[in-house]
């Protein structure tokens, strides 16, 4: 039963170029980049067909890190899935926890106290800083700068991870949010530490931009590479900085205004070429916006309980029903879709990962570019395999 005359929207890059054997150009070179490759950010493989240097066909292959996170979610209680969400996008465990907690609170109609909402915003923005700093470092590593920008990025990341460790107990596997609030209250010293880091993060960013943004070699390598059109981005469900780099104004913090984001005034940067350079610059500008949010949140963090008194940790049985909660993670929209049938285990537990959906257009961006560009384009998409494969 084929669809009634629906033509398949030809992607901008014309992904269906026939891999023709051209006598003069010689035969096409079929290369498998990955799963064990220095610049694929984890176990990810790209079956690339090369005509000399230019890419003719590129099929991403993943599933090497597939642990069936969703089946696990359906066989354990709601609380037991929380530590597993740290392992989804293992760079940003705080935002994963918040997305899951938000979905379950929506499912059970669970109120959250003021102080916990502010703490969640502070930790989410710190995670956004951490993720974007990591991306800038990895992108430069892919273009060949021998580790210097990556080391500067990791120096800043370590400061934020120390904050997470002194708050939640573990650097990356925080398991910090609960349904109806947070687990540990932030001590005054911790808040002072967070304020100190936020204040001179701007200084680091200026030095970093001085090293990178004006660099002609980087501009030559990334401008015009892997361009993505806004229409294709919207149709392919791209979210996060990659979407805003194409000029589409869609940031869940403004659209859904979940949590207490409506109380902070911050701006959403938009690019207009949608190429790799824009994606890098959008993330740098977003880091600056996150700093302003953090300063506002730290300034007017209210006192009060961090956990809703009526919230139950054990024996949590939400009424039957379903809910889809989503937040603006550093990589894009991360959402949890839960169907509950009243039992302590969720009936259906679904994670909507941003990296997995953002990879849909990888081939369209890489066609016609050289193999050295494909590495950078993949880097600019910013994928984490824990989240792609679940």
């Amino acid at each position: 039963m084929s669809n009634s005359g629906l033509e398949f929207p030809a992607p901008v890059g014309g992904s269906h170029v026939a891999a023709v054997h051209d006598p003069f150009h010689g035969d096409l070179l079929e290369v498998s980049m990955g799963p064990h490759h220095p610049s694929t950010h984890g176990v990810f493989r790209m079956m690339v067909t090369l005509d000399g240097e230019t890419i003719v066909k590129l099929k991403p292959v993943f599933g090497y890190l597939h642990r069936n996170h969703e089946k696990l979610g359906e066989n354990t209680s709601y609380l037991a899935s929380m530590p597993y969400t740290d392992r989804l996008d293992y760079l940003n465990s705080m935002t994963n926890n918040w997305a899951y907690a938000l979905a379950v609170e929506k499912l059970a109609g669970q109120p959250v106290p003021e102080r916990a909402e502010y703490l969640r915003v502070i930790l989410a923005e710190l995670t956004r800083l951490l993720n974007h700093v990591c991306l800038a470092g990895f992108l430069l590593q892919d273009t060949g700068a021998s580790g210097t920008p990556l080391m500067y990025a990791f120096r800043e990341r370590e400061k934020i991870l120390d904050l997470f460790e002194s708050l939640s107990g573990s650097r990356m596997m925080c398991n910090y949010q609960r349904f109806g609030g947070c687990r540990v209250d932030a001590s005054p010293e911790w808040l002072a530490g967070a304020k100190h880091i936020t204040d001179n993060f701007g200084r680091f960013l200026d030095e970093y931009e001085e090293l990178i943004t004006g660099n002609e070699i980087l501009m030559a390598r990334t401008q015009g590479v892997g361009a993505l059109s806004p229409e294709l981005a919207i149709s392919a469900g791209i979210t996060g900085p990659m979407l805003r780099a194409t000029g589409v104004d869609y940031d869940l913090r403004k659209v859904d205004a979940y949590g207490v984001y409506s109380r902070f005034n911050f701006r959403v940067p938009l690019g207009d070429h949608g190429d790799t350079y824009d994606r890098y610059m959008i993330r740098v500008l977003e880091m600056r916006e996150s700093i302003t949010i953090l300063q506002q949140a730290l300034r007017d963090l209210p006192a009060g309980p961090i956990m809703d008194p009526k919230a139950k940790i054990r024996g949590f049985r939400p009424k039957a029903g379903e809910a889809y909660g989503r937040i603006e993670g550093p990589k894009g929209e991360i959402g949890f879709y839960l169907i509950s049938d009243g039992s302590p285990n969720p009936y259906r537990y679904r994670v909507r990962p941003p990296s997995f959906v953002n990879l849909t257009v990888l081939e369209d961006m890489c066609l016609g570019q050289t193999i050295a560009d494909a590495v950078i384009i993949l880097g600019s998409v910013d994928i984490v395999l824990g989240e792609v494969d679940r």
């Binding site: 000399g52 240097e53 230019t54 015009g224 016609g368 570019q369 050289t370 560009d373």
Partner: protein, 170 residues
């Protein structure tokens, strides 16, 4: 004399072996070795400038052209020697070879070679330059213009290549 003998051997033997080898790449490399032999001969004769030019031009650049040409034609392993088809062709081959050999020997024997142990005057680069500039200025200028035009042509080709060439990434 022994030096000259060694240099002659280094020049001629690789050239001969190069012809007999089956692998074209090996024979190309041996050819380059014999060019180096010629450079050694210039050294022996005291013309350092000429020797360095020989090495720079032949071993440096023209060897690359030869190797690229061999690679682009891509059938590096010729299988089986090339036997002459008919007896007539073999005879004709021998005849022409003998004739060329006769002419060469005639020329070598008939030219009055200066016999004596007077070493050639030590020519400095400055001297070479002055010689070239005074007596052969016109020839030098023509060659100079020719080379510059070739060079500029290459640059223009490279410049125009990006617009039309499909290969060059945008």
């Amino acid at each position: 004399m022994t030096g000259l003998l060694i240099i002659a051997l280094v020049t001629l033997v690789p050239a001969a072996v190069a012809m007999a080898l089956r692998n074209v790449i090996h024979s190309a490399l041996l050819l380059i070795l014999s060019w180096a032999g010629i450079a050694a001969f210039y050294f022996w004769a005291g013309a350092e400038f000429l020797a360095f030019s020989q090495v720079l031009v032949y071993v440096g650049a023209i060897s690359m052209v030869v190797l690229f040409a061999v690679l682009l034609t891509r059938h590096t392993r010729t299988d089986g020697g090339v036997a002459p088809d008919t007896l007539g062709r073999a005879l004709a081959g021998l005849l022409i070879g003998g004739a060329v050999l006769g002419v060469l020997f005639g020329a070598v024997l008939s030219t009055p070679l200066p016999i004596g142990s007077k070493p050639a005057a030590a020519v400095t680069v400055h001297g070479l330059g002055v010689e070239l500039m005074e007596r052969h200025t016109i020839a030098l200028l023509v060659v100079g213009v020719l080379l510059t035009v070739a060079l500029l042509g290459a640059v223009v080709l490279a410049a125009s290549d990006s617009r039309s060439g499909p290969e060059d990434a945008r």
